[in-house]
């Protein structure tokens, strides 16, 4: 794999990973707003997942 291909493939997973870590830590660091932030952040991967599973691609 070339560097460019490597970057393309791992870009979204890297962003998702960062979001997940932030979500896992925020509920640990505080209550109230921090918990809510955690829910919001951790919901993103799950929303994305359902989006990709449900959508219909035109190509096929």
């Amino acid at each position: 794999m070339t560097t460019a291909a490597f970057r393309t493939v791992y870009r979204t997973p890297f962003i998702l990973s960062t979001i997940t870590i932030a979500g896992l830590l925020s509920a640990l660091l505080g209550d109230g707003v921090w918990d809510a932030l955690s829910w919001g952040l951790l919901a993103i991967p799950m929303f994305l997942l359902s989006f990709f599973l449900v959508r219909r691609k035109k190509s096929s």
Partner: protein
């Protein structure tokens, strides 16, 4: 790093396959039993109606612990006080009685629950089949005690390796595919392959955290043993040759003494003199901080049951601090019900990753994966040949 050699990819793929196969069966069990365990509090409240403590104003005085102990002793004369626990959420105090020093399961313990302010007895836990505690024992130690804990720890380690190697082979396999590709109209195997990749990469970080903290939790028994071995001999040295005390001073006074010595902490639990888990001549009082982060950090204090002299060993060593932080990150019970629901969704997604992984392995015969790998090897070797 960026130019991935096809042979390297093959090695990672093998590592992914074998580490996954090692842990899959037990991991599936852990995922399935873990799901209800995430909702432990809710299920517990649902399965068992609790008597609520009286409403108390802030700063209301605490009830006398000695009277609770006396009541529990009268109710269970053949047992001895084992521990006192303070409920995190409600002003309730659990007095746990046991006839052994190392209770293995909830069967070995009888609990009486008291109102923390009025001291009134709220309920005596019945001797009943406790599904959640059975699930927990299965999840943690497959009913095998310490060896089971270590087996589950090794399984979790294998899981972490499988995740890392899985993330590494994800790149080569996905390089011609868009993120989130799910060919729902493709061949059955293609669908499962896409599902495995998509769910695997989306849940990767969560799974790594739960896996790594699972390894830490599995090591809790030996780590606490190590800490006791490092700490207790110093504390016990002055008592050498003295008989083990049979008469204990007031636990209420001892707790008040610790609370006064550590004003920035709150009392979490008390372990009665115990030759296995602590000292046979001290109350072990666990205190915790008051902020969201420090409430995960415990500081132990030992109170001599005869003289009342206080020994505070200071904070815990780093490995127990990591263990303390590992617990919430493994259980997912630290951010309210919405976090638990999200935790449950991640868990279900992980179950699908496991099942699809097993499917891909079972339907292997010259599978797309192996064919894909052969293409990779071929292409890379051609490229190398061309470059030479």
């Amino acid at each position: 790093m960026a130019h991935l050699n096809a042979q390297t990819v093959r090695t990672w793929y093998r590592l992914h396959k074998w580490t996954s196969l090692i842990c899959t069966a037990l991991l599936l069990m852990a995922c399935v039993t873990g799901l209800p365990l995430v909702f432990h509090d809710e299920l517990d409240a649902l399965l068992d109606q609790h008597v609520a403590p009286a409403k108390a104003e802030a700063g209301a005085p605490a009830a006398n612990l000695d009277q609770m102990i006396a009541q529990a002793q009268a109710r269970f004369p053949s047992m001895h006080p084992y521990a006192i626990g303070w409920d995190d959420d409600e002003p309730r105090i659990f007095v746990n009685m046991s006839s052994v020093d190392d209770p293995r399961s909830s069967k070995d313990i009888r609990s009486m629950i008291f109102d923390a302010h009025t001291g009134r007895l709220l309920e005596t836990e019945k001797d009943r089949f406790d599904l959640l505690s059975v699930l927990l024992r299965l999840h943690r130690e497959i009913f095998l005690g310490l060896p089971g804990e270590l087996i589950m720890g090794a399984m979790a380690l294998s899981f972490v390796l499988s995740l890392v190697s899985g993330a590494l082979v994800y790149g080569p396999f996905m390089r011609r595919l868009e993120f989130g590709t799910y060919r729902r109209d493709g061949a059955k195997r293609t669908r499962w392959f896409d599902l495995h990749n998509l769910l695997g990469i989306v849940t990767l970080t969560w799974a790594l955290v739960v896996g790594a903290t699972g390894v830490m939790n599995a090591l809790s028994t030996p780590l606490f043993g190590l800490w006791r071995a490092q700490t207790l001999p110093k504390i016990m040295a002055p008592y050498r040759g003295k008989p083990v005390p049979t008469h204990f001073r007031s636990v209420d006074e001892s707790v008040k003494q610790v609370a006064a010595a550590l004003p920035e902490m709150e009392i979490s639990s008390v372990l009665f003199p115990n030759p296995i888990f602590s000292s046979p001549r001290h109350y072990l009082v666990w205190t915790k901080g008051k902020t969201p982060v420090t409430s995960r950090m415990f500081t132990p204090a030992l109170v001599d049951v005869e003289t009342g002299s206080l020994a505070i060993s200071g904070g815990l060593p780093w490995y127990l601090r990591i263990l303390e932080l590992s617990r919430p990150l493994h259980f997912g019970d630290y951010g309210g019900l919405p976090l638990k629901i999200i935790w449950g969704l991640f868990d279900v997604a992980l179950i699908v990753v496991l099942v699809s992984g097993v499917y891909l392995w079972l339907s292997k015969r010259r599978s797309p994966i192996e064919r894909e790998l052969d293409h990779l090897v071929e292409r890379e070797s051609l490229r190398h040949a061309g470059a030479l």
